[in-house]
């Protein structure tokens, strides 16, 4: 447990000392949504229909933008090798890095997303549901993303492959999360889709660290 907290703290400290990298995905997230609104010039009632999907697509893309940093610098300066030859379980270290990535990107998006949703015309109740889906859904993005990053971190230009690899896996999250909010607005029960999102969360957080650890071992060699 000590290791988990140390690595989590290390990654958060590094993120705070690298503020530009921290703010970039956040800024991207806000800008995409603002630009959507400016570009669409739709009637408010039409915009409300689009709002959950817009927020979620922006969240997806900003996650993708920040993923590459997860292991890149550790790979370049050799810290990753040290983690792999350490006696600690690599999957536990990976889990700490996934959680750190989520705190830096996902949690921030979850907090700002609902405000932007309101700007797009969502009701207060609907923004609460949007917040809930972001809170459950964004860790899934970090977890699934970590597998993709681990597989491509050894490549010189892994960016494009990473997007191709990871985006299809992000799609279920996008569909279920934005569907949940639209269903709620339409007045139908949402328990089923929330449960599905939670299932995705549990599944990805419990399996991704192992897959990522294995992929990192291959990437390092």
């Amino acid at each position: 447990m000590n290791v988990f907290i140390t690595i989590l703290k290390r990654d958060l400290i590094l993120a705070i000392r690298h503020r530009a990298e921290l703010l970039n995905p956040m800024l991207f997230f806000v800008l995409v949504i603002v630009l959507f609104q400016l570009g669409l010039r739709a009637k408010p009632e039409v915009l409300v229909d689009f709002a959950p999907a817009i927020v979620w697509i922006a969240a997806l893309l900003s996650a993708l933008l920040s993923l590459d940093h997860m292991f890149r610098s550790d790979m370049e300066d050799g810290a990753l090798e040290q983690m792999i030859i350490s006696t600690q379980a690599t999957s536990l270290l990976v889990l700490a890095k996934i959680i750190a990535h989520w705190i830096i990107t996902g949690l921030a998006v979850s907090l700002v997303g609902p405000l932007l949703g309101m700007m797009l015309g969502l009701s207060f109740d609907a923004t609460k549901i949007l917040f809930l889906t972001l809170l459950i859904g964004t860790p899934v993005l970090s977890a699934i993303g970590s597998i993709g990053v681990a597989l491509t971190v050894g490549l010189r230009r892994g960016g494009v492959i990473l997007s191709l690899l990871v985006l299809p896996l992000f799609v279920p999250v996008l569909i279920f999360a934005s569907q949940t909010v639209t269903t709620y607005i339409a007045g139908y029960p949402i328990a089923a889709s929330i449960s599905f999102l939670i299932a995705l969360l549990v599944l990805s957080l419990s399996l991704a660290p192992w897959a990522t650890a294995a992929a990192l071992r291959v990437s390092v060699s």
Binding site: I13, D77, G78, Q82, Q88
Partner: protein, 223 residues
Amino acid sequence: MDKTQTPYADTNIVSAQKLSSEKQDRWLFKDISFSIKPGQIFHIQGANGSGKTTLLRILCGLTRSDSGQVMWGDKPIAKQHDQYHTQLSYVGHTDGIKQDLTVEENLHVAAVLAQGKQQNNHASNKLANLDATLKQVGLYKKKLTFAHALSAGQRRRLALARCLLSDTSIWILDEPLTALDSQGVALVEELLETHTQRKGIAIVTSHQTLNISGAHYEVLNLS
């Protein structure tokens, strides 16, 4: 406690059996075999690009060889990664130091990652040993300095401090003398001397010759 005198608890022979490695359709080395006994310094020499680093990474278990295997004791390391790594410290080409952490923070992370590397009775005082280790490598005054403000030689010292901190019996050092001043070189030689006296194994690549008295010293030339 004078641990500099006590031999490591778990020393064992590291041997290579017919190791070969190929890069871009060219053999870096083919069918090399050697065995390194506790208390021995194994110096790998060779021209640039002759596969020194690759060989070290294979010995660490980080990279796979194209044929042959590395044994620790009587079992291949591939079958006992976890136990092998408890006894292994590796200072690579890239030293694993985070530029944006201070010297102390860097070493703290290394200490936590190395927990369980040594015999459990040392495990708890390892964090307390941080200051002592920094003094030993001459970085105590730089404790709160960011790693990016260190000189190349100081970074090398910091990377070496990791080996001391984890108290492991196998040291694999890739060019440990690069960028070190004469004092630094003397320090490395002194550390290696104590290490071999305690029946540790050191596998080193370097273009310079090491001046170590009393140690069993063997050279492998890859070119």
